[in-house]
Protein backbone atom coordinates (compact mmCIF):
# COMPACT_ATOMS: atom_id res chain seq x y z
CA UNK A 1 0.00 0.00 0.00
CA UNK A 2 2.56 2.53 1.11
CA UNK A 3 5.60 1.03 -0.48
CA UNK A 4 9.04 2.43 0.27
CA UNK A 5 11.45 3.68 -2.37
CA UNK A 6 11.09 6.01 -5.35
CA UNK A 7 7.55 4.85 -6.07
CA UNK A 8 6.34 6.64 -2.97
CA UNK A 9 6.85 10.15 -4.33
CA UNK A 10 5.08 9.31 -7.55
CA UNK A 11 2.27 7.79 -5.61
CA UNK A 12 1.86 10.95 -3.54
CA UNK A 13 1.74 13.12 -6.68
CA UNK A 14 -0.77 10.74 -8.25
CA UNK A 15 -2.80 10.77 -5.06
CA UNK A 16 -2.79 14.59 -5.04
CA UNK A 17 -3.84 14.82 -8.69
CA UNK A 18 -6.85 12.59 -8.09
CA UNK A 19 -7.69 14.50 -4.90
CA UNK A 20 -7.67 17.79 -6.82
CA UNK A 21 -9.90 16.18 -9.43
CA UNK A 22 -12.34 15.20 -6.68
CA UNK A 23 -12.32 18.80 -5.42
CA UNK A 24 -13.11 20.06 -8.91
CA UNK A 25 -16.04 17.65 -9.05
CA UNK A 26 -17.13 18.96 -5.64
CA UNK A 27 -16.93 22.52 -6.92
CA UNK A 28 -19.41 21.90 -9.74
CA UNK A 29 -21.59 19.55 -7.70
CA UNK A 30 -23.97 22.27 -6.38
CA UNK A 31 -24.83 23.13 -9.98
CA UNK A 32 -26.16 19.62 -10.43
CA UNK A 33 -27.47 19.05 -6.92
CA UNK A 34 -30.20 21.59 -6.26
CA UNK A 35 -32.12 22.28 -3.11
CA UNK A 36 -30.87 23.36 0.33
CA UNK A 37 -31.27 19.91 1.91
CA UNK A 38 -29.11 18.08 -0.62
CA UNK A 39 -26.56 20.87 -0.63
CA UNK A 40 -26.47 20.77 3.17
CA UNK A 41 -25.61 17.09 3.02
CA UNK A 42 -22.66 17.54 0.69
CA UNK A 43 -21.55 20.46 2.84
CA UNK A 44 -21.45 18.28 5.94
CA UNK A 45 -19.57 15.62 4.03
CA UNK A 46 -16.94 18.24 3.15
CA UNK A 47 -16.71 19.01 6.89
CA UNK A 48 -16.02 15.34 7.52
CA UNK A 49 -13.51 15.29 4.67
CA UNK A 50 -11.47 17.96 6.49
CA UNK A 51 -11.60 15.96 9.73
CA UNK A 52 -10.62 12.79 7.87
CA UNK A 53 -7.65 14.49 6.24
CA UNK A 54 -6.53 15.83 9.61
CA UNK A 55 -6.88 12.44 11.25
CA UNK A 56 -5.20 10.64 8.37
CA UNK A 57 -2.16 12.92 8.62
CA UNK A 58 -1.78 11.77 12.19
CA UNK A 59 -2.90 8.15 12.01
CA UNK A 60 -2.27 7.14 8.41
CA UNK A 61 1.00 8.93 7.75
CA UNK A 62 2.49 9.17 11.24
CA UNK A 63 1.01 6.05 12.86
CA UNK A 64 -0.42 7.86 15.92
CA UNK A 65 -3.92 6.62 16.65
CA UNK A 66 -5.63 9.49 18.41
CA UNK A 67 -9.27 8.95 19.38
CA UNK A 68 -9.94 12.66 19.90
CA UNK A 69 -10.60 14.31 16.49
CA UNK A 70 -14.25 14.99 17.31
CA UNK A 71 -13.26 16.43 20.69
CA UNK A 72 -10.95 18.90 18.99
CA UNK A 73 -13.65 19.86 16.53
CA UNK A 74 -15.88 20.51 19.54
CA UNK A 75 -13.21 22.61 21.24
CA UNK A 76 -12.75 24.66 18.08
CA UNK A 77 -16.48 25.24 17.81
CA UNK A 78 -16.71 26.30 21.44
CA UNK A 79 -13.76 28.67 21.16
CA UNK A 80 -15.53 30.61 18.44
CA UNK A 81 -18.87 30.40 20.21
CA UNK A 82 -17.54 31.57 23.60
CA UNK A 83 -15.64 34.47 22.05
CA UNK A 84 -18.74 35.45 20.12
CA UNK A 85 -21.05 35.10 23.11
CA UNK A 86 -19.01 36.77 25.85
CA UNK A 87 -16.76 39.22 24.04
CA UNK A 88 -18.70 39.79 20.81
CA UNK A 89 -15.52 39.01 18.88
CA UNK A 90 -16.20 39.05 15.13
CA UNK A 91 -15.88 35.75 13.29
CA UNK A 92 -12.87 36.74 11.22
CA UNK A 93 -10.98 36.74 14.52
CA UNK A 94 -13.08 34.02 16.17
CA UNK A 95 -12.31 31.37 13.56
CA UNK A 96 -8.52 31.86 13.55
CA UNK A 97 -8.77 31.94 17.35
CA UNK A 98 -10.30 28.45 17.20
CA UNK A 99 -7.35 27.24 15.15
CA UNK A 100 -4.88 28.73 17.61
CA UNK A 101 -6.68 27.49 20.71
CA UNK A 102 -6.99 23.91 19.41
CA UNK A 103 -3.35 23.97 18.38
CA UNK A 104 -2.49 25.02 21.94
CA UNK A 105 -4.72 22.29 23.37
CA UNK A 106 -2.95 19.90 21.03
CA UNK A 107 0.41 21.20 22.20
CA UNK A 108 -0.41 20.60 25.85
CA UNK A 109 -2.05 17.21 25.28
CA UNK A 110 0.69 16.19 22.86
CA UNK A 111 3.41 17.15 25.36
CA UNK A 112 1.72 14.83 27.81
CA UNK A 113 0.78 11.86 25.66
CA UNK A 114 3.04 11.59 22.65
CA UNK A 115 5.75 9.75 24.52
CA UNK A 116 3.23 6.98 24.91
CA UNK A 117 2.72 4.60 22.07
CA UNK A 118 0.18 2.21 20.61
CA UNK A 119 -2.80 1.46 22.82
CA UNK A 120 -1.62 3.82 25.56
CA UNK A 121 -1.87 6.78 23.22
CA UNK A 122 -5.34 5.75 22.05
CA UNK A 123 -6.46 5.31 25.66
CA UNK A 124 -5.21 8.71 26.79
CA UNK A 125 -6.73 10.57 23.86
CA UNK A 126 -9.99 8.68 24.41
CA UNK A 127 -9.93 9.73 28.06
CA UNK A 128 -9.15 13.31 27.08
CA UNK A 129 -12.02 13.37 24.58
CA UNK A 130 -14.49 12.11 27.15
CA UNK A 131 -13.25 14.49 29.85
CA UNK A 132 -13.59 17.42 27.45
CA UNK A 133 -17.13 16.39 26.60
CA UNK A 134 -18.18 15.81 30.22
CA UNK A 135 -16.69 19.12 31.33
CA UNK A 136 -18.23 21.12 28.48
CA UNK A 137 -21.58 19.37 28.98
CA UNK A 138 -21.61 20.00 32.75
CA UNK A 139 -20.36 23.58 32.92
CA UNK A 140 -23.90 24.92 32.68
CA UNK A 141 -23.11 28.48 33.80
CA UNK A 142 -20.29 28.93 31.33
CA UNK A 143 -21.15 26.86 28.24
CA UNK A 144 -24.89 26.38 28.81
CA UNK A 145 -24.27 22.64 29.04
CA UNK A 146 -26.13 20.26 26.78
CA UNK A 147 -28.34 23.02 25.39
CA UNK A 148 -25.46 24.23 23.28
CA UNK A 149 -24.52 27.77 22.35
CA UNK A 150 -25.67 30.03 19.59
CA UNK A 151 -22.98 31.25 17.18
CA UNK A 152 -23.05 34.06 14.65
CA UNK A 153 -22.98 33.10 11.01
CA UNK A 154 -20.69 34.12 8.17
CA UNK A 155 -23.31 34.23 5.45
CA UNK A 156 -26.93 33.28 5.08
CA UNK A 157 -26.41 31.70 1.70
CA UNK A 158 -26.05 27.92 1.92
CA UNK A 159 -24.23 27.88 -1.39
CA UNK A 160 -21.82 30.53 -0.08
CA UNK A 161 -21.15 28.34 2.95
CA UNK A 162 -20.55 25.36 0.76
CA UNK A 163 -17.81 27.19 -1.11
CA UNK A 164 -16.29 28.39 2.17
CA UNK A 165 -16.07 24.76 3.31
CA UNK A 166 -14.70 23.69 -0.04
CA UNK A 167 -12.07 26.44 0.09
CA UNK A 168 -11.08 25.25 3.57
CA UNK A 169 -10.83 21.70 2.23
CA UNK A 170 -8.57 22.80 -0.61
CA UNK A 171 -6.36 24.79 1.77
CA UNK A 172 -6.06 21.78 4.07
CA UNK A 173 -5.32 19.52 1.13
CA UNK A 174 -2.58 21.78 -0.23
CA UNK A 175 -1.12 22.21 3.25
CA UNK A 176 -0.95 18.44 3.81
CA UNK A 177 0.50 17.87 0.36
CA UNK A 178 3.23 20.45 1.01
CA UNK A 179 3.86 18.83 4.38
CA UNK A 180 4.15 15.36 2.92
CA UNK A 181 6.41 16.60 0.13
CA UNK A 182 8.74 18.29 2.59
CA UNK A 183 11.35 16.67 4.80
CA UNK A 184 8.72 16.51 7.55
CA UNK A 185 6.63 14.20 5.37
CA UNK A 186 9.42 11.69 5.06
CA UNK A 187 10.10 11.97 8.78
CA UNK A 188 6.42 11.24 9.38
CA UNK A 189 6.44 7.99 7.46
CA UNK A 190 9.78 7.06 9.01
CA UNK A 191 8.28 7.55 12.47
CA UNK A 192 5.30 5.44 11.48
CA UNK A 193 7.23 2.60 9.92
CA UNK A 194 10.10 2.31 12.37
CA UNK A 195 10.26 4.74 15.31
CA UNK A 196 13.39 3.19 16.77
CA UNK A 197 15.18 3.25 13.43
CA UNK A 198 14.08 6.85 12.87
CA UNK A 199 15.38 7.88 16.28
CA UNK A 200 18.69 6.19 15.62
CA UNK A 201 19.06 8.13 12.35
CA UNK A 202 18.81 11.37 14.26
CA UNK A 203 15.11 12.15 13.76
CA UNK A 204 13.56 13.70 16.83
CA UNK A 205 10.60 11.33 16.89
CA UNK A 206 8.65 13.08 19.65
CA UNK A 207 9.05 16.43 17.93
CA UNK A 208 7.81 15.11 14.60
CA UNK A 209 4.79 13.56 16.33
CA UNK A 210 4.27 16.82 18.19
CA UNK A 211 4.24 18.99 15.07
CA UNK A 212 1.87 16.69 13.22
CA UNK A 213 -0.37 16.35 16.28
CA UNK A 214 -0.67 20.14 16.68
CA UNK A 215 -1.40 20.63 12.99
CA UNK A 216 -3.96 17.84 13.01
CA UNK A 217 -5.67 19.30 16.09
CA UNK A 218 -5.68 22.80 14.58
CA UNK A 219 -7.31 21.50 11.40
CA UNK A 220 -9.98 19.72 13.43
CA UNK A 221 -10.49 22.97 15.32
CA UNK A 222 -10.92 24.87 12.05
CA UNK A 223 -13.46 22.34 10.81
CA UNK A 224 -15.39 22.43 14.09
CA UNK A 225 -15.38 26.20 14.21
CA UNK A 226 -16.67 26.50 10.62
CA UNK A 227 -19.30 23.87 11.31
CA UNK A 228 -20.45 25.73 14.41
CA UNK A 229 -20.92 28.97 12.49
CA UNK A 230 -22.73 27.11 9.73
CA UNK A 231 -25.25 25.37 11.97
CA UNK A 232 -25.25 28.44 14.28
CA UNK A 233 -25.07 26.08 17.23
CA UNK A 234 -22.31 24.26 19.03
CA UNK A 235 -23.14 21.53 21.52
CA UNK A 236 -21.23 18.73 23.27
CA UNK A 237 -22.66 16.39 20.63
CA UNK A 238 -19.97 17.62 18.24
CA UNK A 239 -17.48 15.76 20.42
CA UNK A 240 -19.33 12.45 20.71
CA UNK A 241 -17.20 9.34 20.38
CA UNK A 242 -19.55 8.23 17.61
CA UNK A 243 -18.33 11.16 15.54
CA UNK A 244 -14.77 9.99 16.01
CA UNK A 245 -15.96 6.56 14.97
CA UNK A 246 -17.41 8.06 11.82
CA UNK A 247 -14.11 9.79 10.97
CA UNK A 248 -12.23 6.57 11.64
CA UNK A 249 -14.54 4.59 9.38
CA UNK A 250 -14.21 7.17 6.61
CA UNK A 251 -10.43 6.90 6.63
CA UNK A 252 -10.31 3.13 6.95
CA UNK A 253 -12.84 2.64 4.18
CA UNK A 254 -11.29 5.30 1.95
CA UNK A 255 -7.73 4.25 2.59
CA UNK A 256 -5.16 4.91 5.28
CA UNK A 257 -2.30 7.20 4.23
CA UNK A 258 -4.10 8.57 1.20
CA UNK A 259 -5.38 12.09 0.55
CA UNK A 260 -7.94 10.97 -2.00
CA UNK A 261 -8.95 8.11 0.28
CA UNK A 262 -9.82 10.49 3.12
CA UNK A 263 -11.95 12.76 0.92
CA UNK A 264 -13.70 10.03 -1.05
CA UNK A 265 -14.17 7.96 2.11
CA UNK A 266 -15.80 10.92 3.86
CA UNK A 267 -18.10 11.61 0.91
CA UNK A 268 -19.15 7.99 0.46
CA UNK A 269 -19.63 7.27 4.14
CA UNK A 270 -21.54 10.46 4.86
CA UNK A 271 -23.72 10.32 1.76
CA UNK A 272 -24.28 6.62 2.45
CA UNK A 273 -25.22 7.33 6.05
CA UNK A 274 -27.69 10.00 4.93
CA UNK A 275 -29.20 7.55 2.51
CA UNK A 276 -29.40 4.93 5.24
CA UNK A 277 -30.86 7.40 7.72
CA UNK A 278 -34.37 6.42 6.70
CA UNK A 279 -33.53 2.94 7.95
CA UNK A 280 -32.80 4.23 11.46
CA UNK A 281 -29.57 3.22 13.08
CA UNK A 282 -28.83 0.65 10.44
CA UNK A 283 -26.42 3.29 9.22
CA UNK A 284 -24.01 2.88 12.11
CA UNK A 285 -24.40 -0.89 11.97
CA UNK A 286 -23.54 -0.97 8.29
CA UNK A 287 -20.54 1.32 8.75
CA UNK A 288 -19.21 -0.46 11.79
CA UNK A 289 -19.48 -3.69 9.82
CA UNK A 290 -17.73 -2.12 6.83
CA UNK A 291 -14.93 -0.81 9.07
CA UNK A 292 -14.35 -4.24 10.55
CA UNK A 293 -14.47 -5.97 7.17
CA UNK A 294 -12.21 -3.40 5.52
CA UNK A 295 -9.67 -3.47 8.35
CA UNK A 296 -9.73 -7.26 8.30
CA UNK A 297 -9.72 -7.96 4.57
CA UNK A 298 -8.92 -4.70 2.71
CA UNK A 299 -6.42 -2.85 4.90
CA UNK A 300 -5.59 -0.48 2.03
CA UNK A 301 -9.18 0.71 1.78
CA UNK A 302 -10.78 1.70 -1.50
CA UNK A 303 -7.66 3.65 -2.48
CA UNK A 304 -5.51 0.57 -1.96
CA UNK A 305 -7.97 -1.50 -3.97
CA UNK A 306 -7.78 0.98 -6.83
CA UNK A 307 -3.98 1.05 -6.80
CA UNK A 308 -3.93 -2.74 -6.89
CA UNK A 309 -6.27 -2.64 -9.87
CA UNK A 310 -4.09 -0.12 -11.69
CA UNK A 311 -0.91 -1.99 -11.01
CA UNK A 312 -2.55 -5.31 -11.70
CA UNK A 313 -0.98 -6.92 -8.67
CA UNK A 314 -1.97 -7.96 -5.20
CA UNK A 315 -0.86 -6.00 -2.15
Amino acid sequence: MIGPGPLWRDRLAFDMRIAVLVCVVLAVLPLVVQGPYAQGIILVSVYFAILSLAWNALAGYTGQFSLAPAAFAMLGGYTTALLDFYLKVPLFIGIPAAIISTALFGLVLGKLVLRLSGPYLSLTTLAFAEIARVVVGNSHEFTRGDQGMHVATLTDSRLGYYYIFLAALVVVLVLLYAMLRSKLGRFMTAVRDDPVGAESRGINVVRVKMIVFCISCALCGLAGSLYGTFSQLVSPELGLLQQTGLVLSMVVIGGMASLTGSIVGALLVYLGSEWLRSFGNWQVIVFALLVILFARYVPGGLWGLMLDRLKGKRA
Partner: protein
Protein backbone atom coordinates in the same frame (compact mmCIF):
# COMPACT_ATOMS: atom_id res chain seq x y z
CA UNK B 1 -18.57 12.07 59.55
CA UNK B 2 -16.83 8.86 60.50
CA UNK B 3 -19.99 6.88 59.85
CA UNK B 4 -20.34 8.46 56.43
CA UNK B 5 -16.75 7.59 55.67
CA UNK B 6 -17.28 3.97 56.70
CA UNK B 7 -20.36 3.83 54.53
CA UNK B 8 -18.46 5.25 51.57
CA UNK B 9 -15.59 2.86 52.18
CA UNK B 10 -17.89 -0.15 52.20
CA UNK B 11 -19.75 0.96 49.09
CA UNK B 12 -16.48 1.78 47.36
CA UNK B 13 -15.13 -1.67 48.11
CA UNK B 14 -18.31 -3.29 46.81
CA UNK B 15 -18.09 -1.36 43.56
CA UNK B 16 -14.43 -2.26 43.51
CA UNK B 17 -15.45 -5.94 43.34
CA UNK B 18 -17.56 -5.32 40.23
CA UNK B 19 -14.85 -3.19 38.66
CA UNK B 20 -12.30 -5.90 39.34
CA UNK B 21 -14.47 -8.53 37.68
CA UNK B 22 -14.70 -6.28 34.66
CA UNK B 23 -11.07 -5.20 34.53
CA UNK B 24 -9.43 -8.58 35.06
CA UNK B 25 -10.63 -9.82 31.67
CA UNK B 26 -9.27 -6.73 29.98
CA UNK B 27 -5.96 -7.17 31.79
CA UNK B 28 -5.75 -10.79 30.61
CA UNK B 29 -6.29 -9.79 26.99
CA UNK B 30 -3.67 -7.11 27.28
CA UNK B 31 -1.30 -9.53 28.96
CA UNK B 32 -1.48 -11.93 26.05
CA UNK B 33 -1.98 -9.83 22.91
CA UNK B 34 -0.70 -6.43 24.13
CA UNK B 35 -3.81 -4.75 22.76
CA UNK B 36 -6.63 -2.82 24.39
CA UNK B 37 -10.06 -4.23 23.64
CA UNK B 38 -12.18 -1.14 23.00
CA UNK B 39 -15.28 -3.32 22.84
CA UNK B 40 -14.89 -4.54 26.41
CA UNK B 41 -17.82 -2.45 27.61
CA UNK B 42 -20.05 -4.22 25.11
CA UNK B 43 -19.25 -7.57 26.71
CA UNK B 44 -20.62 -5.99 29.90
CA UNK B 45 -23.69 -4.75 28.03
CA UNK B 46 -24.39 -8.13 26.43
CA UNK B 47 -24.13 -9.79 29.85
CA UNK B 48 -26.52 -7.31 31.43
CA UNK B 49 -29.07 -7.71 28.62
CA UNK B 50 -28.86 -11.49 28.57
CA UNK B 51 -29.44 -11.60 32.30
CA UNK B 52 -32.41 -9.24 32.23
CA UNK B 53 -34.07 -10.65 29.11
CA UNK B 54 -33.65 -14.29 30.08
CA UNK B 55 -35.05 -13.57 33.53
CA UNK B 56 -37.97 -11.48 32.23
CA UNK B 57 -38.96 -13.31 29.02
CA UNK B 58 -38.60 -16.87 30.25
CA UNK B 59 -39.60 -15.94 33.78
CA UNK B 60 -36.86 -18.02 35.31
CA UNK B 61 -35.00 -17.37 38.52
CA UNK B 62 -32.20 -14.80 38.26
CA UNK B 63 -29.90 -17.54 39.51
CA UNK B 64 -30.44 -19.33 36.20
CA UNK B 65 -30.16 -16.12 34.20
CA UNK B 66 -26.75 -15.42 35.70
CA UNK B 67 -24.97 -18.43 34.17
CA UNK B 68 -26.81 -17.72 30.89
CA UNK B 69 -25.22 -14.27 30.84
CA UNK B 70 -21.83 -15.83 31.57
CA UNK B 71 -22.32 -18.22 28.65
CA UNK B 72 -23.35 -15.44 26.31
CA UNK B 73 -20.30 -13.39 27.26
CA UNK B 74 -17.98 -16.36 26.82
CA UNK B 75 -19.49 -17.17 23.43
CA UNK B 76 -19.13 -13.58 22.28
CA UNK B 77 -15.50 -13.44 23.42
CA UNK B 78 -14.74 -16.69 21.67
CA UNK B 79 -16.37 -15.56 18.40
CA UNK B 80 -14.55 -12.22 18.48
CA UNK B 81 -11.19 -13.94 18.88
CA UNK B 82 -11.96 -16.43 16.14
CA UNK B 83 -13.17 -13.89 13.59
CA UNK B 84 -11.15 -10.77 14.31
CA UNK B 85 -8.10 -11.39 16.46
CA UNK B 86 -6.40 -14.13 14.48
CA UNK B 87 -4.53 -11.73 12.15
CA UNK B 88 -2.76 -10.23 15.17
CA UNK B 89 -0.59 -13.28 15.58
CA UNK B 90 -0.73 -14.81 12.16
CA UNK B 91 1.55 -12.62 10.07
CA UNK B 92 -0.82 -9.84 9.20
CA UNK B 93 1.51 -6.98 10.12
CA UNK B 94 3.17 -7.26 6.72
CA UNK B 95 -0.06 -6.07 5.09
CA UNK B 96 0.85 -2.53 6.00
CA UNK B 97 -1.43 -2.16 8.97
CA UNK B 98 0.39 -2.23 12.25
CA UNK B 99 -0.76 -4.51 15.02
CA UNK B 100 -1.84 -1.77 17.42
CA UNK B 101 -3.68 0.13 14.74
CA UNK B 102 -5.52 -2.92 13.53
CA UNK B 103 -6.59 -3.70 17.07
CA UNK B 104 -7.80 -0.15 17.74
CA UNK B 105 -9.79 0.04 14.51
CA UNK B 106 -11.34 -3.40 14.77
CA UNK B 107 -12.33 -3.28 18.43
CA UNK B 108 -13.60 0.31 18.15
CA UNK B 109 -15.69 -0.72 15.13
CA UNK B 110 -16.91 -3.78 17.01
CA UNK B 111 -18.00 -1.59 19.89
CA UNK B 112 -20.06 0.67 17.61
CA UNK B 113 -21.49 -2.40 15.88
CA UNK B 114 -22.61 -4.15 19.05
CA UNK B 115 -24.13 -1.03 20.61
CA UNK B 116 -26.24 -0.29 17.55
CA UNK B 117 -27.08 -3.90 16.82
CA UNK B 118 -28.47 -4.37 20.33
CA UNK B 119 -30.26 -1.04 20.01
CA UNK B 120 -31.86 -2.36 16.82
CA UNK B 121 -32.79 -5.78 18.17
CA UNK B 122 -33.86 -4.98 21.73
CA UNK B 123 -34.77 -1.34 21.36
CA UNK B 124 -33.28 1.68 23.07
CA UNK B 125 -35.34 1.24 26.26
CA UNK B 126 -33.64 0.42 29.49
CA UNK B 127 -34.93 -2.57 31.42
CA UNK B 128 -35.31 -2.95 35.11
CA UNK B 129 -33.19 -5.93 36.09
CA UNK B 130 -34.57 -8.43 38.61
CA UNK B 131 -32.70 -8.68 41.88
CA UNK B 132 -30.95 -11.85 42.95
CA UNK B 133 -32.64 -11.81 46.32
CA UNK B 134 -35.60 -9.88 47.62
CA UNK B 135 -34.49 -8.01 50.69
CA UNK B 136 -34.71 -4.38 51.48
CA UNK B 137 -31.89 -2.38 52.96
CA UNK B 138 -30.23 -3.80 56.01
CA UNK B 139 -27.59 -2.53 58.38
CA UNK B 140 -24.21 -4.16 58.68
CA UNK B 141 -22.87 -2.39 61.72
CA UNK B 142 -22.94 1.29 60.76
CA UNK B 143 -23.17 0.55 57.02
CA UNK B 144 -26.47 0.46 55.16
CA UNK B 145 -26.58 -2.01 52.27
CA UNK B 146 -29.18 -3.37 49.91
CA UNK B 147 -29.50 -7.12 49.72
CA UNK B 148 -28.81 -7.12 45.98
CA UNK B 149 -25.57 -5.19 46.38
CA UNK B 150 -24.31 -7.42 49.16
CA UNK B 151 -25.12 -10.71 47.44
CA UNK B 152 -23.75 -9.51 44.11
CA UNK B 153 -20.51 -8.49 45.77
CA UNK B 154 -20.25 -11.90 47.41
CA UNK B 155 -20.84 -13.62 44.06
CA UNK B 156 -18.22 -11.37 42.44
CA UNK B 157 -15.69 -12.27 45.13
CA UNK B 158 -16.44 -15.98 44.71
CA UNK B 159 -15.96 -15.73 40.95
CA UNK B 160 -12.65 -13.94 41.38
CA UNK B 161 -11.51 -16.49 43.92
CA UNK B 162 -12.43 -19.21 41.47
CA UNK B 163 -10.49 -17.44 38.73
CA UNK B 164 -7.44 -17.10 40.95
CA UNK B 165 -7.49 -20.82 41.71
CA UNK B 166 -8.06 -21.60 38.04
CA UNK B 167 -5.08 -19.51 36.94
CA UNK B 168 -2.76 -20.84 39.63
CA UNK B 169 -3.70 -24.50 39.79
CA UNK B 170 -5.31 -25.78 36.62
CA UNK B 171 -3.40 -26.87 33.52
CA UNK B 172 -5.32 -24.37 31.38
CA UNK B 173 -4.54 -21.59 33.82
CA UNK B 174 -0.86 -22.42 33.69
CA UNK B 175 -0.99 -22.49 29.91
CA UNK B 176 -2.56 -19.02 29.94
CA UNK B 177 0.26 -17.74 32.14
CA UNK B 178 2.84 -19.33 29.89
CA UNK B 179 1.40 -17.79 26.71
CA UNK B 180 1.20 -14.39 28.42
CA UNK B 181 4.84 -14.56 29.43
CA UNK B 182 6.21 -15.77 26.14
CA UNK B 183 3.99 -16.77 23.28
CA UNK B 184 6.71 -18.34 21.17
CA UNK B 185 8.30 -20.12 24.07
CA UNK B 186 4.97 -21.54 25.15
CA UNK B 187 4.32 -22.76 21.61
CA UNK B 188 7.70 -24.45 21.56
CA UNK B 189 6.81 -26.20 24.79
CA UNK B 190 3.81 -27.70 23.04
CA UNK B 191 1.06 -25.32 24.15
CA UNK B 192 -1.54 -24.48 21.53
CA UNK B 193 -1.21 -20.69 21.79
CA UNK B 194 -4.11 -20.00 19.44
CA UNK B 195 -6.49 -22.14 21.45
CA UNK B 196 -5.25 -20.56 24.66
CA UNK B 197 -5.90 -17.09 23.28
CA UNK B 198 -9.43 -18.13 22.36
CA UNK B 199 -9.84 -19.37 25.92
CA UNK B 200 -8.62 -16.04 27.30
CA UNK B 201 -11.13 -14.13 25.18
CA UNK B 202 -13.91 -16.43 26.31
CA UNK B 203 -12.95 -15.93 29.97
CA UNK B 204 -12.63 -12.19 29.48
CA UNK B 205 -16.05 -11.99 27.86
CA UNK B 206 -17.53 -14.17 30.59
CA UNK B 207 -16.17 -12.03 33.41
CA UNK B 208 -17.35 -8.78 31.84
CA UNK B 209 -20.78 -10.29 31.15
CA UNK B 210 -21.04 -11.55 34.72
CA UNK B 211 -20.21 -8.13 36.02
CA UNK B 212 -22.89 -6.70 33.73
CA UNK B 213 -25.42 -9.24 34.99
CA UNK B 214 -24.60 -8.57 38.64
CA UNK B 215 -24.89 -4.82 38.13
CA UNK B 216 -28.00 -5.05 35.93
CA UNK B 217 -30.50 -4.33 38.75
CA UNK B 218 -28.52 -1.22 39.67
CA UNK B 219 -27.74 0.28 36.27
CA UNK B 220 -30.83 -0.76 34.25
CA UNK B 221 -29.22 -1.90 30.99
CA UNK B 222 -29.47 0.23 27.87
CA UNK B 223 -27.40 -0.27 24.69
CA UNK B 224 -24.70 2.19 25.75
CA UNK B 225 -24.53 1.03 29.35
CA UNK B 226 -21.07 -0.45 28.78
CA UNK B 227 -19.30 2.84 28.15
CA UNK B 228 -18.50 3.84 31.70
CA UNK B 229 -17.68 0.37 33.04
CA UNK B 230 -15.32 0.03 30.08
CA UNK B 231 -13.62 3.33 30.81
CA UNK B 232 -13.31 2.29 34.45
CA UNK B 233 -11.64 -0.93 33.44
CA UNK B 234 -9.19 1.00 31.25
CA UNK B 235 -8.35 3.15 34.25
CA UNK B 236 -7.94 0.11 36.45
CA UNK B 237 -5.84 -1.83 33.99
CA UNK B 238 -3.50 1.12 33.50
CA UNK B 239 -3.43 1.84 37.22
CA UNK B 240 -2.65 -1.74 38.09
CA UNK B 241 -0.02 -2.16 35.42
CA UNK B 242 -1.16 -3.39 32.01
CA UNK B 243 -1.63 -7.11 31.90
CA UNK B 244 -1.28 -7.73 35.62
CA UNK B 245 -4.32 -9.55 37.00
CA UNK B 246 -3.46 -9.01 40.66
CA UNK B 247 -2.63 -5.36 39.99
CA UNK B 248 -6.03 -4.97 38.35
CA UNK B 249 -7.84 -6.44 41.36
CA UNK B 250 -6.10 -4.09 43.77
CA UNK B 251 -6.48 -1.07 41.47
CA UNK B 252 -10.21 -1.81 41.18
CA UNK B 253 -10.58 -1.49 44.95
CA UNK B 254 -8.56 1.75 44.95
CA UNK B 255 -10.72 3.23 42.18
CA UNK B 256 -13.99 2.07 43.75
CA UNK B 257 -13.16 3.68 47.08
CA UNK B 258 -11.64 6.90 45.75
CA UNK B 259 -14.59 7.35 43.40
CA UNK B 260 -17.06 6.92 46.25
CA UNK B 261 -15.26 9.60 48.23
CA UNK B 262 -14.89 11.91 45.23
CA UNK B 263 -18.59 11.86 44.44
CA UNK B 264 -19.39 13.03 47.97
CA UNK B 265 -16.50 15.29 48.91
CA UNK B 266 -15.57 16.35 45.38
CA UNK B 267 -18.08 17.09 42.66
CA UNK B 268 -21.00 14.86 41.78
CA UNK B 269 -21.42 16.43 38.33
CA UNK B 270 -17.88 15.62 37.29
CA UNK B 271 -17.70 12.13 38.82
CA UNK B 272 -17.55 10.57 35.37
CA UNK B 273 -14.52 12.65 34.52
CA UNK B 274 -12.80 11.67 37.76
CA UNK B 275 -11.71 8.20 36.68
CA UNK B 276 -10.57 9.55 33.35
CA UNK B 277 -8.47 12.19 35.03
CA UNK B 278 -6.85 9.46 37.13
CA UNK B 279 -6.17 7.51 33.95
CA UNK B 280 -4.43 10.45 32.31
CA UNK B 281 -2.44 11.18 35.47
CA UNK B 282 -1.23 7.61 35.88
CA UNK B 283 -0.30 7.29 32.23
CA UNK B 284 1.73 10.46 32.48
CA UNK B 285 3.49 9.81 35.76
CA UNK B 286 3.87 6.07 35.70
CA UNK B 287 2.89 4.44 32.40
CA UNK B 288 3.91 1.04 33.70
CA UNK B 289 1.20 1.35 36.38
CA UNK B 290 1.39 1.40 40.15
CA UNK B 291 2.75 -2.07 40.43
CA UNK B 292 5.92 -1.59 38.52
CA UNK B 293 7.35 -4.00 36.02
CA UNK B 294 4.73 -6.60 36.67
CA UNK B 295 3.35 -5.92 33.21
CA UNK B 296 4.26 -9.37 32.03
CA UNK B 297 3.07 -11.27 35.04
CA UNK B 298 -0.41 -12.64 34.84
Amino acid sequence: MLLLSLDLLANGLIYGCFYALMAVGLAMIFGVLKIVNFAHGEFFMVGAYTYVLVALKFEVSPWIALPCAALAGAALGWIVERLLMRPLYRGYASWGFMKDEYAVVVTFGLSLLLINLVDKIVGPYSYKGPSLIETSRFALGPVMLTGQKAIAAVVALLIMGGLAVFLKRSVWGKQIQAVAQNRLGASLAGIDATRTTALIFAISGMLAALSGALLAPMVNPSPDVGAFPAIKSYVIVVLGGMGSVWGAMLAAMILGVSEAFFSVYGSYDYRDAFGLAILVLVLLLRPQGLFGEKGREL
